[in-house]
């Protein structure tokens, strides 16, 4: 499984300590090291790049202002950041659910990183078609587990910490998520084939 470059424990400890004192350079190092993963995680959960960037900003503003609250005994720094981002993603989804006006009515520009763009990008890199779409159709609970596992590259224990469950439950959610994903992919595949058949008639 590919992962982001990892920082040494000593450097991380130093950045967190200096960042808690308001050192901009240390905070910038933390941002450079962890922001790609936080953005990827948020994007996987929200499927909207603008929203994901907003969540990433909010999560970092909160984290950097509250570095003193981070307890390395309780979780890894990355897991702590992901927990903050997940909470903001849930809030964002709730607000979106409540929003009634479609963006097109507000003359908003089309969002970058649209699902179609993501699908095309993944396909160019040899990733199975429709997997992104299928991922977005999962229930939030299963999607969060899969996104933390595969986009966040967390271990089951860390997923449990981020989601408030134990490692065994986290693993079960990932397994069930994959089974559900396979089911959704099959359904989407059948639908796509039916659509193709209709077009060729």
């Amino acid at each position: 499984m590919m992962s982001d470059p990892t920082v040494s424990a000593e450097n991380l400890k130093d950045w967190i300590a200096r960042g808690a004192q308001g050192d901009e350079d240390a905070c910038a190092q933390l941002y450079r090291e962890f922001s790609p993963a936080v953005l990827r995680l948020s994007f996987g959960l929200l499927n909207d790049l603008r929203d994901a960037e907003e969540v990433m900003q909010d999560a970092f503003v909160y984290a950097l202002r509250n570095l003193r609250r981070f307890d390395p005994e309780k979780s890894a720094f990355r897991t702590w950041l992901f927990t903050i981002a997940i909470s903001r993603c849930r809030n964002k989804r709730r607000r979106k659910w409540l929003a009634t006006l479609p963006l097109s009515l507000l003359n908003a520009e089309p969002a970058p990183g649209s699902p179609r763009e993501v699908e095309a990008l993944l396909a160019r890199r040899g990733v199975r078609r429709q997997i992104w779409e299928a991922l977005q159709e999962l229930s939030p609970r299963l999607r969060e587990a899969l996104v933390l596992r595969y986009l966040g590259n967390l271990k089951y224990g860390e997923i449990g910490q981020a989601l408030g469950c134990n490692a065994k439950t986290a693993e079960s959610r990932v397994r069930l998520g994959l089974v559900a994903l396979r089911g959704t992919l099959k359904r989407l595949g059948v639908e796509a084939e039916a659509e193709l058949a209709e077009l060729s008639v």
Partner: protein
């Protein structure tokens, strides 16, 4: 026994040698489980390939660091002055109170209210001869010698007679 519960652990190589041997023996005899395992292996590979594909797309986005740092500093600046002003004001007030009590505490202790009351009573008594001689005036008069500075003797004023 199918491998419904253990296929993920098998793919991720987390089974013990004994569990692995059992699973492989079952797979050798069960085409249904072999097919399921192959599908899930593909799916896991696809999921694992997503981050590197997204990294290419998300890595092109402009950095949000300047905006984030500006917000961090803005919040810090908004919080700091209020806190320091409140703290400075409170500490200043406490310091003034302590200095006042240290310098003048022994002199003022117990005498100040009586002195004021007495002085006012004397003035009122002199200017308004018909002012009623109240219990507090009498008490103040009685305390006058303890006040620490000389005061004119209270003037005796005729008390109003009982009315209706």
């Amino acid at each position: 026994m199918h491998i419904h519960q253990s296929w993920l652990a098998l793919i991720e190589k987390r089974l013990s040698p004994a569990e692995r041997a059992r699973a492989e023996a079952h797979l050798a005899a069960c085409p249904e489980c072999r097919e399921e395992l192959a599908e899930m292996r593909d799916l896991v590979s696809a999921m694992e390939a997503i981050p590197s594909a997204l990294r290419a797309m998300l890595g092109r986005r402009p950095s949000l660091w300047p905006a984030i740092w500006a917000r961090v500093q803005r919040r810090a600046a908004a919080a700091r002055p209020a806190y320091s002003w409140q703290l400075a004001a409170s500490m200043g007030l406490v310091a003034v109170c302590l200095v006042t009590l240290t310098l003048f505490g022994p002199t003022l202790s117990g005498s100040w209210p009586a002195t004021i009351e007495l002085a006012n009573t004397s003035q009122i008594t002199l200017q308004t001869p018909l002012a009623p001689h109240t219990a507090s005036n009498a008490a103040a008069t009685a305390r006058a010698p303890q006040a620490g500075f000389p005061l004119p003797a209270p003037v005796q004023t005729p008390r109003p007679g009982p009315t209706g």
